[in-house]
């Protein structure tokens, strides 16, 4: 079988896959509501995720009010506080970050960036969104049932998650588990589409090693999700059975309110293993798309090819693989066999190697670059700073001996908010600003964007840097209040109040972002089709924003990698991926992978 990776127009081989006709919508409902177009589905996913994320943001304000000013707000009871914590964590990690990165950016960017007209099975893709919406609605419904939503903490550890002393241990926990199971079913439908589209539906010339790193990040993250979510699914099914039918998968014989319960012989540790076998890859499900997107933002806005593209790809793949064998570092204090701690500490620290490699490559990409401090670039650099910060505290917590004293303190809260809260959110903001002109066809307001960045970035540090200190003092996490605890100094109390004031301010400041996006989508000035002068295919579409089918009558052919910036001898300082070598005669051809001899066209 002959196939070529073209660098010049005469190399182009015939398409291996015949063009498939798209489903063409006829009515408003099929165009914008039950749409099969990945771009519309992406926007639906993003709006839903951001909406539920705002709910979680408000919950975090309520928590901060209680922590900063205990005994002040009568409506925040201890039960309510635990419910806020649980819902805040679960919504942010799964319903916001996972859905927005994979369902939102995945749907929008994968077909456009690999040169496909749509996802491979658009109908299944549409179902994915509607089941996700159902999962979100079930989650919201759990806030309005008797007893309220579950207050078991986002990790939902049994036995306390289903014992009657825990808030929301009735309908709340059941709806939570149902919602998670629905989310997983819906995600699987979308995830299969993303993976198969990347593997099997790329355009001519788009080899794997010419894909933008954004696609690589989303692709590997989706594979992780398809393999990690099953563990959560199984955990959710078994815990529902424990709760509803009275089975004893996770429940040992236990005394509840002075009476021996009917449970007998289950293993609470089993749930923790299942949960973290999902939970740790989940960290990278959120991080890997961020890694990919940041790489592309840095390269585009610093006008430099990404440093060490191959290494960047392999680092993503290796981090993805390693993320499956580190889960029990979340369980050093769980009572599992201490010898496990040695193994999991080792694997955890090994992950630092490919991760650090990525950070060095980002910095080397910026090195001597023509750095444009645009809004997306600011957010990308902000990501590197917060990610390094959170990554380094990760080294502390990855060591079993250091983790034991720090476990369940505010240090842990500071660590994971820095590394998988603030860092991915900064990427999301950067990515929204970067692709906003493509999605809406209009430009956002620069001044508002600047204000938004600086308030968010500096605010995030003002919130989470003190939490590291509080954690080292020994202030525990998940405590409703700790007014007269002897070892906690007065300074910790005032620091908590400071953090709360900043958190509320930064939270409210997000209105600037929402206003900027909504106002600019209607009133912003018309954007250039390629305002950042980027090389990737989504900026080369005939219409802006891209129409149904993405690329007009002819699919683009790819002749080069995604990072031909500041090319010596080129007319402009960049060469889009779909420009053949003949059209840029004074440059070196086919950057990226050297073409293997087998792919040279026959004489």
């Amino acid at each position: 079988m002959a196939y070529f990776i073209p660098t010049a127009a005469e190399d182009v081989a015939p398409a291996e896959v015949a063009e498939v006709d798209l489903y063409h919508p006829h009515s408003f409902v099929t165009k914008y509501v039950f749409s099969q177009d990945a771009k519309v589905i992406a926007i639906q996913y993003s709006f839903t995720a951001i909406a539920i994320g705002l709910v979680a943001l408000v919950l975090s304000w309520l928590m901060r009010l209680q922590l900063g000013f205990p005994d002040t707000f009568a409506f925040i009871s201890a039960e309510a506080y635990y419910q806020f914590i649980t819902m805040h964590g679960m919504i942010m990690v799964i319903y916001l970050l996972t859905a927005l990165f994979l369902g939102g950016f995945g749907n929008y960017l994968i077909p456009l960036m690999v040169g496909a007209r749509d996802m491979v099975f658009p109908y299944v893709n549409m179902l994915s969104y509607w089941i996700y919406l159902l999962a979100v609605l079930v989650l919201l419904a759990s806030m309005f049932v008797p007893g309220g939503p579950t207050g078991a903490g986002w990790t939902l550890y049994p036995p306390q998650a289903i014992l009657s002393g825990t808030p929301g241990s009735g309908a709340g926990i059941i709806l939570m588990l149902v919602s998670l199971a629905l989310f997983i079913v819906g995600f699987t439908m979308g995830g299969l589409n993303y993976v198969v589209t990347v593997l099997q539906a790329r355009t001519r010339g788009m080899s794997l090693m010419r894909m933008p790193l954004t696609v690589w990040g989303i692709f590997v993250a989706t594979i992780l999700a398809l393999l990690a979510f099953p563990a959560l699914f199984v955990g959710a099914v078994m815990m529902s059975l424990d709760k509803i039918l009275g089975t004893s998968f996770f429940m040992p014989a236990i005394v509840e309110f002075g009476e021996l319960s009917d449970y007998d012989g289950g293993s609470p540790l089993l749930f923790q293993h299942l949960f973290w076998f999902f939970g740790h890859p989940e960290v990278y499900i959120v991080a890997l798309p961020g890694f990919g997107i940041v790489s592309d933002l840095l390269a585009t806005h610093a006008r430099r090819n990404i440093f060490g593209y191959r290494m960047m790809v392999w680092a993503i793949v290796i981090i993805g693989g390693l993320s499956f064998i580190v889960w029990a570092h979340h369980m050093y204090v769980s009572g599992m066999n201490p010898y496990f701690g040695f193994f999991f500490a080792t694997t955890t620290l090994i992950i630092a190697v490919p991760t650090a490699l990525k950070v060095y490559n980002w910095i080397l990409t910026l090195w001597k670059g023509n750095i444009h401090l645009t809004i997306p670039m600011l957010f990308a650099i902000g990501f590197i700073v917060t990610f390094v910060n959170g990554g380094i505290t990760g080294l502390f917590l990855g060591n079993a001996v250091v983790d034991v004293p720090l476990s369940d303190t505010m240090f842990v809260v500071a660590h994971f908010h820095m590394v998988m809260g603030v860092a991915p959110i900064l990427v999301i903001f950067g990515a929204i600003y970067h692709w906003f002109p493509k999605i809406t066809g209009r430009m956002f307001n620069q001044t508002l964007g600047q204000i938004h960045f600086w308030v968010t970035f500096l605010g995030a540090y003002a919130i989470f840097l003190p939490l590291h200190y509080l954690g080292l003092l020994g202030v525990p996490r998940r405590y409703y209040e700790m007014s007269d605890t002897l070892f906690i100094p007065e300074s910790a109390v005032t620091l908590n109040a400071f953090v709360s004031v900043v958190a509320l301010t930064v939270g409210v400041a997000q209105v600037i972002f929402l206003f900027n996006m909504i106002w600019s989508a209607y009133k912003g000035k018309k954007a250039d089709p390629n305002p950042w002068r980027a090389t990737t295919l989504e900026w080369q579409t005939p219409e802006n924003p891209p129409a149904h089918g993405n690329f007009g009558p002819e699919l683009p052919v790819v002749y080069r990698w995604a990072y031909d910036y500041s090319v010596p001898g080129a007319k402009e300082d960049f060469i889009p991926q779909n420009v053949p070598q003949e059209e840029v005669p004074n440059t070196e051809g086919g950057l990226g992978l050297p073409m293997p001899a087998a792919h040279q066209p026959a004489e």
Binding site: Y3, V124, L192, R202, P230, L270
Partner: protein, 236 residues
Amino acid sequence: MATDSGGSVAQPDGVSGFVSDWASDQRAFKNVPWGKAMMWIFLLSDTFIFGCFLLSYMTVRMSTTETWPNASEVFALSFGGEPIPLILIAIMTFILITSSGTMVMAVNYGYRKARAKTVMWLLLTALFGATFVGMQAVEWTKLIEDGVRPWGNPWGAPQFGSTFFMITGFHGFHVSVGVLFLLIVARKVWRGDFDTEKRGFFTSRKGRYEIVETMGLYWHFVDLVWVFIFAFFYLW
């Protein structure tokens, strides 16, 4: 699918051939249609679900302090006095494995576009699958009559009933869904949808005879999973 098999280019051998296949443009797996690739990846994900179920079963079986009921006694049936251990499950397993064979025949005739024969083998497969689920219902009934419940049983660890009903139930659900789709695919073949390339309702993509093979992948997977469930539940 249009495939180009010009053969004008020499393929590198061994590992570098493998790598250049993967790194080439358009498709990582040459000649693999989208639906089939998607089914393989779905099955990989589903493997993790069954894997987690079975590992959980092993964990609770080890963590429970009570004795585990003896499988060869619990699953025995008596015909004329003498209990025969595992007799029902042996027949069920035989039927399900046989159905994999009939599925292979259906795929074979599907690619030859022999519609009547394909339909016949598909229906036979569905019949075997339905028989399996029916016999599973008999087995469940007998256990329930013996007093096995998800929360307890007369012989020992309560996890015996809970894992048994959960895992065989989840597998039986897979078989039932498979039977349903076998009937749908059989109907499509019978109507000639794959000759006219009629669009599928679910995928909105044109139907081709590869769908019979994709269906077969799922069916063989369900069989393979059963082999593990059989080994871990009935032989351990």
